[in-house]
């Protein structure tokens, strides 16, 4: 289909579509689809660094002044807003490809075993990336419904951002929501504990000299980032910040 429509654009030469077939071959192959997972996964990790850093500004406990300053910059700066499109695309690619992989991987074993005893060297969370990812997706839906969607909708309708700091205090006054956010952070912890190092393996970056470093940084990242995130709703609910 894609090739055909390109042929009609480029006429009878056909050079271009023939030369581009490898791109389609690559991204429909099992390894190419894993490449997408790894690249988008690492991209989302880079997003987490920024998101976590800016939100952690609430711990200044200055009535949200520092946080609002940077939050406002992120929400209005045209370059950041353009990059945001990439972020949404990154999430969509990662989620759609992830769910498709889960589906095709389970189809690869149509009849399951009656007794299964996975070896201890294989961790449960490495075998549960689909489940952890789905929990993250549910969390994301709730989370964007709390902040990102209403905020962008307001910008679109009234050209103004919502007061996110007071919105946070409002949302996190409900203990159930706080529990759900902490559960989301726990899922993120397990997803990253496997995902971080796994992405390097997928990219073929496996080397005696650096494996230790990758797994150390991966483990540290998986603990520190979800922990800081989890502390935000807790701190607000317990009024450590006000």
């Amino acid at each position: 289909m894609f090739c055909k429509s390109l042929t009609s654009i480029f006429g009878s030469h056909q050079k271009f579509p023939n030369n581009m077939k490898w791109v389609i071959d690559l991204f429909t192959s099992s390894l190419g689809r894993k490449l997408i997972m790894a690249l988008t996964g690492l991209f989302l990790i880079s997003f987490l660094v920024i998101h976590c850093t800016i939100n952690a500004m609430i711990f200044y406990n200055d009535n949200g002044e520092t946080f609002s300053h940077w939050g406002h910059f992120m929400g209005t700066n045209p370059i950041i807003r353009t990059l945001e499109i990439g972020l949404v695309a990154g999430f969509l690619f990662h989620i759609v490809q992830g769910l498709m992989l889960v589906k095709s991987n389970s189809a690869a074993r149509p009849v399951s075993y009656s007794v299964a005893a996975p070896p201890p060297q294989s961790t449960w969370y490495s075998r549960s990336m689909g489940l952890l990812g789905t929990l993250l997706l549910l969390f994301l839906i709730m989370h964007t419904a709390h902040f990102w969607i209403p905020n962008r909708a307001n910008q679109f309708a009234h050209g103004e951002e919502l007061p996110l700091y007071s919105k946070m205090q409002d949302v996190f006054s409900n203990p159930l929501i706080v529990v759900l956010y902490v559960a989301g952070c726990v899922s993120l912890f397990w997803h990253l504990l496997h995902g971080f190092a796994s992405a390097f393996q997928t990219l073929g970056l496996n080397h005696q000299k650096y494996n230790g470093l990758i797994s150390f940084v991966g483990t540290a990242f998986s603990i520190v980032v979800p922990l800081i995130f989890a502390l935000m709703p807790i701190a607000i609910y317990l009024k450590w910040i006000n």
Partner: protein, 256 residues
Amino acid sequence: MKLTLKVWRQKNKEAKGEFKTYQADHVSTDMSFLEMLDVLNTSLIKKGEDPIHFDHDCREGICGMCSLYINGHPHGPLQTTTCQLHMRTFKDGETITIEPWRAGAFPVIKDLVVDRTAFDRIQQAGGYVSVNTGGVPDANVIPIPKKVADEAFDAAACIGCGACVAACKNASAMLFVSAKVSQFALLPQGHAERKERVEKMVAQMDAEGFGSCTNTKACEAECPKGISVTNIARMNREYLSAMFTNYKVEVGGGGD
């Protein structure tokens, strides 16, 4: 020792199989797992019943023909082949569940025998070096560092048994394919065809319907030859660099 065996019985590819329970009462701890099944089969034949079909050939851990998913592990609880597994590994009175390899790409032919020709087709797609005719080259003409030779040999130790597929929750064949890609990619003799090789082998692997790797490392833990997942990373590197840089030459380079 006495054992209870729950064995998967299936008449043919199309039939719906089921577990049947057998009692094995005079099992010696020195028997191999396959010998234990031989004795059970002899008694089944004497009773006029259809013996349990299972694959085997060398019975010395080198051909990769034996299979069996025993108590939740391919080739049983030890990291060895089923023919090299001995009954002393089990406890008297234990119930042992025996299933065939389970994967869409390895359909059951009968009982515990599965069709593993998918592996042959992957090998035929590119798992070779083309050798031109001519005089026999001197073995030491091409210098190969010892560590490279060792690494390539480690990869070449893969016997193509399919335990990696059986162990993997995604029924992925990447440990097998990566071992076959690596054994050549590491050596100068394999360099000439490395790009075409990995492209074709991966394409065939996908066409056979194996799942894709999520780096759970179950394969490495169950592989009777200890093939390492570093080979999978190498295959990923080989494949991605081949896909991004390989090109076709459309006109002949002279000659006829």
